[in-house]
Symmetry: D2
Subunit: 304 residues, 4 copies
């Protein structure tokens, strides 16, 4: 498979979409990003790496970090994690309070905000220094010791986080947050603020495509079955209320973020990270979605 | 892979679940089925077939037939199909009117009742003799010319179909049914009433696992990409509000029915059909779900 | 109180609203009504009658007839009626299926369509000839033996009644309709089709303002307490999701219909009927609402 | 009307209910109240006062204070108040986030928590010292200069106010809170913490029954029409999702609180306050509801 050639072909096909969509602008740091960037990187289990475009420019991972939080939480809690959240697609917008109230404070899945806030609570409760442990884990996964939080982004998000604060209080009301709300949210926004390039992100996700080698990073280990099941959750819940659309068009498990990044895996073959800041109305990167659709079309390979 | 040995091992592991759950009893014909039956059959793309238990006893397919309806509708309408229904998981019970009202009569996906009723409307509108065309298609797919509707089941379901009649009227109110409501529902219940054995069903689903040979049956053809995308919809929407759970535990695209059957595919490898009438609270077969979980665990193979 | 003078003053104040709003047009018979009509009539307990405008032109009562259905149902069932429906405001549009599904087929109150359909079921079950009994009751109440159904309107509504048929099927699914759905709906639409003039309607509602004389009409009797409680329900539930607005602006118990009529009572003093076909976005008569607001403002009298 | 005799008769009839229901216990101060108390007081516009039972024992007003907040807000904002909240019954539990999210942060009415929090925001924004202004207004209305906040109750409620904090954050997200969330909530809980006896509360509510004398207290004035319209809102929205039931059984505008108090008015005749801590499942005082039902039954007088 000539991935480099395929990436170039994708880049050409994406041109008509270059100006489509709007980047996130609810905080200054995201609004300030140059929207005319795009990058992609594929890492294969055979050890090859193929990159194109702005694949070394770091961007804000945002919700993509929920995958790392899930790996750590699942490692710590095992199946007890599912006592505090479900693993069903939400069928509604990612920050909906309605479902959370109807279902008595049990988030639908780990990838909606409510679920990720509960995972933040778990990590704050279980780890001595959750911020340190989290960044260590991410650095090891990606093989890049210089990856870091963006404190300004974290602080900025926290200061306008009315909806997430509403969610956290509703969770606390239903006893599904054990710790202090402010502490949990501070950690939650720290997680979201991590910045990586496509190259680093593809490297980090390779571990989820790899079922031969044991998953054991910075003290957090998962069985091969647990890694596969994380992929299953990415497949059904990774794209807010567009999970079905992504599954239909792309056919790979993945996770998107409001910073314009998407990471996905082809189990047993490769991981891929793509980034472009302009988003569609569902909050997913326009060029990112299309690039991955073209990837599975051109390679004639999807998990289905 | 020694499938026959694996099936025997699964059968043993299932014993503790033999009495768990309750069969559907909302119509006499389903209530009369002996609940202490179970069968399984695997068909591989290599041409082998492995069966165990009551794998030649025909049972009522019910919602599994929605997969056949989708194949035919997609063949007739192409992507225009998605103007009349979505492809997102519903996140609520399979017969919910709430979502349908909030979303102005556009069903979430083809596998909830509302979506299947719209497909029934399409088939009634587009085909001269929809009942004949549907059974022809199913017979060709399964290679069994003796498969047939159960008229008593169809009539019996139609006579107590208050909820589906409510759904059909709400669809009509939103102009998403073109034909006569009674005609459409009569066809809908005919589809649901088809009976097959596990052996026949596994054979019929092999076409969805097979991306080498063209999909072209009884005049209805799909591209390889369309077949893959149907699998994606099975993955995200095939199990009512337990799609995430099935995806997590089993990791295969599939579709269940209230008659206790489940059909699933491992793209590029095999199709599998399992049947046992006792259902869990979500309406999915208890032993069927477990059998497929054990299958992907024992074979150490899932799409993830 | 010089009611005739007040009515003339109201008529003048209404002029700017003469072209505001749109008449109901979902069936030909309603669409064909001349929208530039308006009439009003007040009947006092002192025996005086004051009318203005097109107060002798019959119009389609539609939902106003639910008050008569409630009087008859309450007379037949007593407080057992409340086992089958509530008496709380719905807080949502009058024909919402959502609430009905969430509340397991128990309508919020008698004045939403679902509640009225249950009352239709009660009258069909309890009365030998419900159509005859209903029109007799209404004729006696209004003192006009020539009042009648409009069969064309009833038939026409029934033929496009997808939403009400959905509601009736959902009620039946929850066992809250005992009889045959078509029979119940046929009677329901007959009730709605009754035509009266403002003069006749004001006369008919005088019985609800009158707590001195016993309520006993055509064999249906209510205690004084029951009549008062019917007024309470009109106050909280009589105007779909605009009940609060009407209560705030007008301060009288009343009931509106999609034909543009409104009937209201000032307990102990008078009844009033007003009619004008143009409706606001909530389905209530624009000039009718305003006329009643002006009436309680000019008379400086409301129940509050 | 021999009110004293009627009160004694009511007291007797209430005996069977003496142990029914459970007092609020979500904060220590409310849980510590002796539940076996009940008091009632009627103040007539003729200047008479009739009291029975523990009518001089102060209790926590809680939501009853929303009536005072509405009077002040309406005096300050006039009809602009309705740009920020509705006046329709909510049809759901008093603290529901669902409706608030669906309706984009505009509370249904002033008497659900969301509406009262918006009023708290208005008073904090418009008044130099809202705590002082509020207690002055309440003292003048009731004619009791010694009425005061209970700081311990306010602090205690604030410390467990997860649901109200969620509501306030959702309001802020929709720009329907202008001030600082903590400041607004601090004032909100101060308002709720006011304590009065039945005698003081009946006195305070007499102003809402009195349409002859101008409403002008501590600098806050309302027109007669505004006072009547406040009564209309009490009628349709004063009892959470039991407004219809109260209206049906009692037939007076009123407002209840979780402390077990209810205040109501018969416009033009009297005000009444009743208190008993044990609540029904809707959060309204069991004996209080029944006492008022008996009052309008025995006096044969309701607004309907």
């Amino acid at each position: 498979m000539d991935y480099q050639h395929i990436l170039q072909s994708i880049q050409q096909d994406l041109q008509p979409l270059a100006q489509v969509g709007h980047q996130a602008d609810y905080i200054p740091a995201l609004a300030a990003v140059n929207p005319d960037q795009w990058g992609i990187c594929i890492n294969t289990l055979d050890g090859t790496e193929h990159a194109l475009g702005d694949s070394d420019v770091p961007f804000s991972l945002q919700s993509i970090t929920k995958v790392f939080a899930l790996a750590m939480s699942l490692s710590l809690e095992g199946d007890d994690l599912w006592l505090r959240m479900g693993k069903e697609p939400s069928g509604t917008a990612f920050n909906s309070l309605i479902q959370l109230e109807l279902e008595h404070g049990k988030p639908r899945n780990p990838f909606i905000n409510a679920g990720a806030i509960v995972m933040a609570d778990i990590l704050v409760e279980r780890l001595n220094n959750p911020e340190q442990a989290f960044i260590n884990f991410v650095r090891q996964l990606s093989g890049s010791p210089n990856i870091d939080y963006n404190f300004e982004v974290a602080r900025s998000e926290h200061s306008v986080a009315y909806l997430n604060t509403a969610i956290a209080n509703l969770l606390k009301y239903h006893s599904n947050i054990h710790g202090d709300i402010d502490r949990v949210l501070r950690f939650y926004f720290m997680m979201c603020s991590i910045e990586m390039s496509c190259r680093q992100l593809a490297h980090a996700f390779l571990a989820f495509a790899n079922h031969r080698d044991p998953f054991d990073h910075a003290g957090f280990s998962l069985t091969s079955s647990q890694v596969k099941r994380m992929n299953a959750i990415m497949q059904t819940c990774g794209f807010y209320d567009e999970a079905g659309e992504f599954s239909y068009l792309v056919g790979l498990p993945g996770k998107s973020g409001v910073g314009g990044g998407i990471a996905a895996v082809f189990p047993g073959r490769y991981s891929v990270a793509v980034w472009s800041p302009r988003l569609n109305s569902k909050g997913n990167s326009v060029m990112g979605m299309k690039a991955l659709e073209l990837l599975t079309t051109h390679t004639r390979q999807s998990i289905f």
